[in-house]
Structure formats: structure tokens, C-alpha cells
Symmetry: D2
Subunit: 285 residues, 4 copies
């Protein structure tokens, strides 16, 4: 994901320094003109904008707060853009840390898979101080087809991203139950998918997920089940803090845990379709 | 709904006899050239095709099976098309009854609201013996933009319709939880709706329901909460018979019951948004 | 169950006429002095008290309302005691039917398994008109250790029985999840059962069910899984009518359906323990 | 809770040094002969056994790991007994830290309220190296009526305690739904409580909680709702790590969050009864 984003920024003529824990992953970008740094701190030094795109809270905490991290290296006024899907709490902690040090912070998680990033067609959900967002807008313009400005409190963008991913997971779970139901009633799942996606659910997201559920196509991983569980866990944690009960999210969480308990940790998160089918006694289980 | 359908069939030049429990409701159609019958039996006698569009199982049972009902009045080979959203069990019972009497039966529930019916833009989900469906196809062609043929077992179309309405209810509940979450995090619900429906959920069904949830617009009833509960109850009953656990459907059922317990029986089924908001302590509750 | 009850009543010196769909099942009671009737109607004629103990609503409807049923055979003032676990709606229908015909009706479901019935140690939950309950009290006294009088509206006793069975099913499901959790944490389930039942859950019902869950002892059927599902389904239906959301009951219902989908229809309802274990990836699933 | 425990240990003739964040809380114990320390470290220095009883993970982390904490003060071979209800993860972290430093660690959460502690009637759930447990057994003997030895891995005792509290919360939620159901059916809740607790649920825990639910007696706080939520949250986290789906626990979590969202943070955890009643439209909501 980071590679697609960095490639777009390079392509727009900006000077880019990159860092990846696995050095070899930076090779392609080096070939496109990027400087490769040997630590987060070195990548961040002298940069106007530092963008992090990482797997989870632990990875972000390491890259930001550890001795070799970006926080200590960034100059006054430089802007840290965090595009990872992380907890609301960590976003708040980063915002406070940057405020304390005189650097600036913007949360800007994105919607879209790696190929969408490489094509510059992401949707960017940005929140942070107006001047900081304005500084970074040129970057958003080359990676995204549209930026949604969701206010000045950075962690709000993270909350929205978690809410979005909860909505996606709910689409998968609802489809999973619906397909299990009609399959046991004798309906060809591909015919049902065709019906749905040419009538009231004719939108790419349903084309993708009702197809994956109908075909049980979870062996090709677009977004891994443990990441789906992580995001629902974070949405639930946000709901816990804000005092919002989320019974659908709880159900999805339990379904993902069942999937992992059954050994499906290397499947796409559409594995929820397989779990619903198995719970209905389909697939010989 | 029935009025829009009958109007389309009349408009296509077919002879139409109508019956409504509330006689006055047939006046408009009389003005358009329909004959008005004083009982279901009288409406059905001599008809090639008898289409019923009613609120629930009880209404259908009465119109079909009671002494004055259509079953005893239909001629050999005539086709009964049931477009109501009813239980799988009742569809099976009607199919058997028609088989016994020499008449034919097609289940053909539709997707779309009354205005869509009047415009001839419904999606028709049809199942039944091929010859019977063929006989009725001209009717489907004037009321719908597309007919999905889902095989020869009529009740399968009813199962699919219940599955579809479960998917819609799940969209509402997922949106309800998501909007409650972001609202408590300080996000303007209209801004969030705008974000969703211009990015990955840009499809009419989400425009409709995320708008209703964002605005808590459940006072204008498009589809009443008790009907939503009824359909989820039927989906759960079908899942029970077919042995398909449906935790999302169970959650939606509980949410509808909560809505009715709180006195919202005259609200649109998007009242689920209000329930999620209240459970999160929004709206001063 | 009926045999144990009839045996107690015979033993107390009452004249008893019995009917069972499977005639051979009445042989033991015949040996103890019971008259065996060839139809419900014949068993009911001239009786002061008619007690029915049957599997479900369908069986009760047949024995009561069909031409050969007890309703038409009972004399004025005779009392029908229904001890089956049935729906609130059917109890209300029977109460009305008896009222119309001049006979009397008492709902008196019981708590306890067949051996408890044979020992006269049931708990009887009775509701109905005071005079009718008083007429039947001598019967309750020989089959039960205590009768709870729950008012004059018979169906209330059925509601309470459904609520009780829901509480039992919840005890099983909660135990199921708890044992799955500690087992995956490396705890010996028998040691955990010992801990629970010698400390804060030292009561027979937990001895029974935590033992069944700990040992996965569902092959010996005390109360079959489909009956458990039936009772939860009826509790949910009562909650639907009364507008009471019951998320625990919904969860239990889904778990029972999963059990049946996996082929466990001939297991004890403690099979919920097995389902929770399988969902956690235990037992090699 | 800590006061009752320390009082018992003093009463048995042991020398006791106590520390409480709020110094005044130690006055009673001082009067009974305890030495009062001004920091955790000072209380722990030279002690053979250090027992901590605190509200949550954060409090334990502070008292153990901070510069003034017990970890750095304890001598080689001294035993830290943690009786707080904390996460499995924190117990594992403490076990490792003590191992590294040459001190010993035992997890020994307890079942019972403060008055039970003061009477020496707790149930102690202990896990840790055998020699360490043996060293502490005299303490367990004066505070508890029985010690359950659950193996040598300390965190297992914490998992069991979380599982137990989940079982208690499930008893409350199941009772909450059952009482809402029968109340809406016209049953006097006190009569229903009487029926339950004199028949199949005749055990103190049900006497306590069915009474609290029946009377909506949540204003007197025995165990506060936020602590109930905390424990269910920890049980779910343990289930997440161990890959055990826990739908009942998820439901209870959502119910507690609803309670807090409605402003009931200062109620007893039996507030779940009030939530179920409100969701059913009782209490004028």
C-alpha cells in the first residue's frame, strides 16, 4: 500500500525518502528515484511531510515513539500524516505528542486497495488543523480521487475509517448469512449473486464481496481475516470508550474469532462466508 | 402496491378485474377501465392470471383458501401469481393446493416501492413451472424492468425475497450502529452520509437508508417497522426450518422488537437508526 | 413423563384412564390398574379431570381439537389440565375453547425430569380459575413437591415455564462458553466443574449441566436438542408478541440451529457445550 | 476488600504492613496493629509475602512496575500474590518480571464480597509454582474457606476468575430477560423470584441476583456496573487471544455499554435488569 502511495508522490515530482522494515521492499521505489533511509528517524529528518502507512498500532507506536522513530527527528512545523488504520486512542496520543514537540499531525486513513492507491484513486479521509491539512493536500491530490475533510480533531478520521471497515465487514457477514440461507433452500449461489448485483445492490463493493462469498473465494487474500478482526476490535474499543453498543460488530468479531479458531488465519476476510456456510452444515461440516 | 401493478397491466391493454377489501381503494382503477369485483372469488373466476399482492400470510390465506377465496374459483390451467412477501411454508401450501385442483401457481415477489411499481421498474423474482411462468411473463414485462427466473419450485422465490429484505434490514442496522458511533465521536451525520454515498457506497439503496438514518427521518413511512419485523421473523423461520443460524437476523429482530416496545410501531423501518442512537445515549435518552 | 405422573395418581388410589398414541406404552400402567382408552375422546368422557402431557403444540392441538379429541368429550365442569410445554397462544386458545363449552381449563406445566415425576417431586406451576385449580390440587399434591399458584390466567403458567426453560438453556450456553474459554487456556474441565459446583454454583442444576458440558456428555439424552430449540423458539415468540427483546434467547436459538445443522439432532440439549467447543477449534474442528 | 483480607491476616497473628493510595483508608488497620507504609515499595521491602488487591490493570501496573512499586523492592524468594481481577496478559507479564528478578509470583483471585473476606469465607483460586503457593497457603487459610489449586501457570487463575465473573454476569442478563418477559406477561416479579429460588435455582447467587433484578435494586452498589463491564471486556480479550468466540459475553458487554450510555455508571451491575426492562418498554421508557 505504501509503495503505491509513494510511487504516486514520486510521479508527481516530489522528492521522496522511504523506509521499510524489510529493506528489499524499497528497491522498486529506489528505481523510481526515491532515497532509501535506514531508519524511520533518518527518513523523517528534514522532511516537510512524513507519511506513515503501517499494519497496526504496535507498528505505528514503534516507528513513531521509539528512539529511532520519527517523532524525535521531525523539524518544527513538519507534518506527520498517519494513514494506517489504527485505534482512536493512538491517534489522540500522537496528536498530543506532536503538539508537545512543535510538529503537526494529520490523520488521513484511506479507502481502497493497493491497486487503487497505485492508480491515485483512493478516497482520503483527513482530519487535523486546517493549516496542516492544507500543507499535505498536494499529496492527497496525487494519491486520491477525493479528500473528505472531517474536521480539526485528527482522531475523528480514524474513528470514521473504523466505522467504514465495520460497515464493510457487516456487508460480508450479512451476505454470508443470506447466501447460506438461499443455498440451503436450493438456490445456485452464482444466480443469487447475479440477481443481487444487477438489481438493488449494483455497486462495486457488493460485486466484490457477494462474488467472494458466493464462490467461497477466500483463498486469494485481498484483506486478511486477522486484519478484519483487528479493525472490528478497534471499532468495538472505540464504541466502548464512547459508550455505543454495537451488536452487529460483536457478532462479526465472534465470527472472525471462529474463523481463526478453525485455522483460517491466512484467508481473505470474506472467510465469514465460509463460516456461515459451515455453521449451516454446508461444505460437509 | 397492487394499484401500481394493476395500473401497468391495464395500461398495456389487458382486461383487468380487481378486488380490494376496502372497496373505495379500487375507485382509481375503475376509472382507468378495471372491472371491480365484490369478492376474491368473483375476481378470479374466468381469469387466465390471478395476481395477489397482500400484506402478510394471514391476508393471503384468507383471500386464497376461504370459501369466497380464489382457489375454488379459478379454472383449470389458470395461473395464480403471488407477489406478496410471505412465508416459504405458505408458498409451499399454495403450490400444493393448486396442483391438487388443476390450476397453476407461480411465486413472484418483487423488489421496489409503490412508485417503482407504477413506473414499471420493479425487479420480479419468479419461480414456478416453466409453462406457468411463460404464461405470466407478459405481466412481468409491464410491471418490471427485469424478471429473474429462479427455477421451478415456487417457494424458492419467496425465500429469496426474504433473504433480500434481510439484507436491506442489515444495511439499516449496520448504518444505525455506524452513525451512532461517529455521532458520539463528534462527526456531523450528514457529512458522514455524504462521505459514504459518494465513495464506496454510491448506490441508491444506501443513499436512501443512510440518509434516513442520518436525519432520523423515520416519521415518513416508506416501509413500516412492523413489516420489517415480520419479514425478518419469516427469514428466521425459514432459517430455522432449513437449519441456518442467522445471528445478524436475530439482532435485527431484537432491535425491531425494542422499537415496537418503545412505541415506534408507526415509524419507517429505518427506526433502527433511532434505536441505536437511543441505546448510545443520544437524543437525550 | 406421562407415565410417571399417571403412576403417581394411580398410586394415590384414583381411578385413571390413559391414552397413548403408541398403545404399547400404556401396558405398564394397565398393569398398575389403569383403564386404557383407544382414543383421547374415550379417555376424557366422564372424567372429572383430564391431564394432557404431550411433546408440542401440534400434538396438543390434535389431542384436544380433532374430532376424536378431548374437547368434545368432556362433560360440563370437568377440568382439563395441560402440563405440556406449549406456546402461550395455544394455551389461550384452549382456555377460550373450554370457556365456550362449559368445561374448565388449567395450565400446569411442571419442572423436573421423568424420574422426578415418578417420585412425586415435580414443581408444578399452575394457573387458572381458583375453583378449577382447587379441583385439581389433589393431583398436583401426589405428583409434585410444591405447587406454585401463578394467578387465574392459565397461559401465564405457560409463559413462566418457557421463561424457566430459557433460563436453563442460558445456563448451558454460558457454561459452554466458559468451559471452552478455560479449556483453551489449559484448564482441566473436570477441575473447573469441581471448582464451580463446590463454590458459588453449588446447586443440582449446575451439577448436572456443568458436568454434561465438562464431559461433553450429550450422547445420553435427558432432554433432546430439538426440544430445547422448540422451547426457546416459543419463548422468543412470546417475547415477540409481548414486545420483549431477548438477545440471550436469540443466541441460544442460533446455537441450537447450528447443532442441528451439524447433525446433532439426537443429542441432549447440553450439546451447546460441544458447539461452543467446536467453534473454539477444540475437538479437532 | 483489601481491608477485610488484611484484617484476617493480622487476626491470625502475622505482622502486616499496609499501603493504600488514600492514606486514611489504612487507619482502621493501623488500629488493629498494622504498620502503615507510605509507598508500595516501602510496604514490600523485607516482606516474605506481598499481597495486592486493586481495582484494575492500570492500578496494578502502577503499584508493581513504577519506580516506587513493589517489584524493585521485593527480596529474592519473596512471593507476590496478586488477588485483583486483572487481564491474563498482565498476569503473564508479572510472572515473567518476577522470574527475571528472582522473586516469586502467584495469582490468587478470590470469589466473594468484602463482608465475606472479613469473615474469612472467600474462595481462593490459586495458581503458581508449588513452592510459592505453599509459602502463601497460611494466608489463604485465614482469608478463605477453601483454596482451589489450578496449576503452576499463574495466569490460569486469572482466566478462571474472568470466566467465573462472566458466568455471574450471564446469570444477571438471563434473569434480566426472563423477568422482563414474565413482567410484560402480567406476572408479579417477586412471585417469580420466589418460584425460582425455592425450586431449581435455590442457591445464594440466584437469591441475590434474581432479587436485585426483580426489585430493580441496583441503587445499592455491591459491584459497580463499570467493573462488570471491565471484567467482561477482559474475558472477551482472553477469548480473542485464545480464539474462543463468546456470543453471550458480547451481548453482556453491549448491555453494560448501554447502561453506561444511559447514565447508570453508579449502579450495581444488576442494572442489566433495568436495561432489559427498559428495552421491553417497561418503566415508562
Amino acid at each position: 500500500m505504501g509503495e503505491g502511495i509513494a510511487g504516486r508522490v514520486l510521479g508527481a515530482g516530489h522528492a521522496v525518502t522511504v523506509y521499510n522494515r524489510t529493506a528489499a521492499k524499497a528497491d522498486t521505489l529506489r528505481g523510481k528515484g526515491a532515497t532509501v533511509a535506514s531508519s524511520p528517524a533518518k527518513a523523517a529528518r528534514d522532511a516537510e511531510v512524513v507519511l506513515t502507512m503501517l499494519a497496526d498500532d504496535a507498528a505505528v507506536e514503534q516507528v513513531v515513539f521509539e528512539p529511532d522513530g520519527i517523532l524525535g527527528a521531525m523539524g518544527a512545523g513538519a507534518v506527520h500524516v498517519s494513514s494506517s488504520t489504527i485505534s482512536v486512542a493512538l491517534a489522540q496520543r500522537m496528536a498530543a505528542a506532536h503538539r508537545d514537540r512543535g510538529s503537526r499531525y494529520v490523520s488521513a486513513p484511506v479507502m481502497g486497495r493497493p491497486d487503487v492507491a497505485a492508480a491515485g484513486k483512493l478516497f482520503v479521509i483527513a482530519a487535523g488543523a486546517e493549516d496542516a491539512v492544507q500543507t499535505v493536500q498536494p499529496v492527497f491530490d496525487v494519491i486520491g480521487q477525493r479528500t473528505y475533510h472531517m474536521g480539526t480533531e485528527p482522531s475523528v478520521a480514524n474513528l470514521i475509517k473504523l466505522s467504514n471497515n465495520f460497515l464493510l465487514a457487516s456487508i460480508i457477514e450479512a451476505s454470508a448469512e443470506a447466501f447460506a440461507l438461499v443455498r440451503k433452500g436450493g438456490v445456485d449461489p452464482l444466480a443469487y449473486r447475479e440477481m443481487l448485483t444487477t438489481s438493488f445492490l449494483n455497486v462495486p463493493i457488493y460485486h466484490t464481496y457477494s462474488d467472494l462469498v458466493a464462490r467461497e473465494g477466500d483463498e486469494t487474500v485481498g484483506f486478511a481475516a486477522p486484519l478484519g478482526l483487528k479493525d472490528v476490535r478497534l471499532a468495538l474499543a472505540a464504541g466502548d470508550t464512547l459508550r455505543v453498543p454495537m451488536p452487529f460488530a460483536s457478532t462479526v468479531r465472534d465470527a472472525f474469532i471462529t474463523a481463526l479458531a478453525r485455522g483460517y488465519e491466512h484467508r481473505d476476510w470474506s472467510v465469514l462466508g465460509r463460516i456461515a456456510a459451515e455453521n449451516a452444515g454446508l461444505n460437509g461440516k
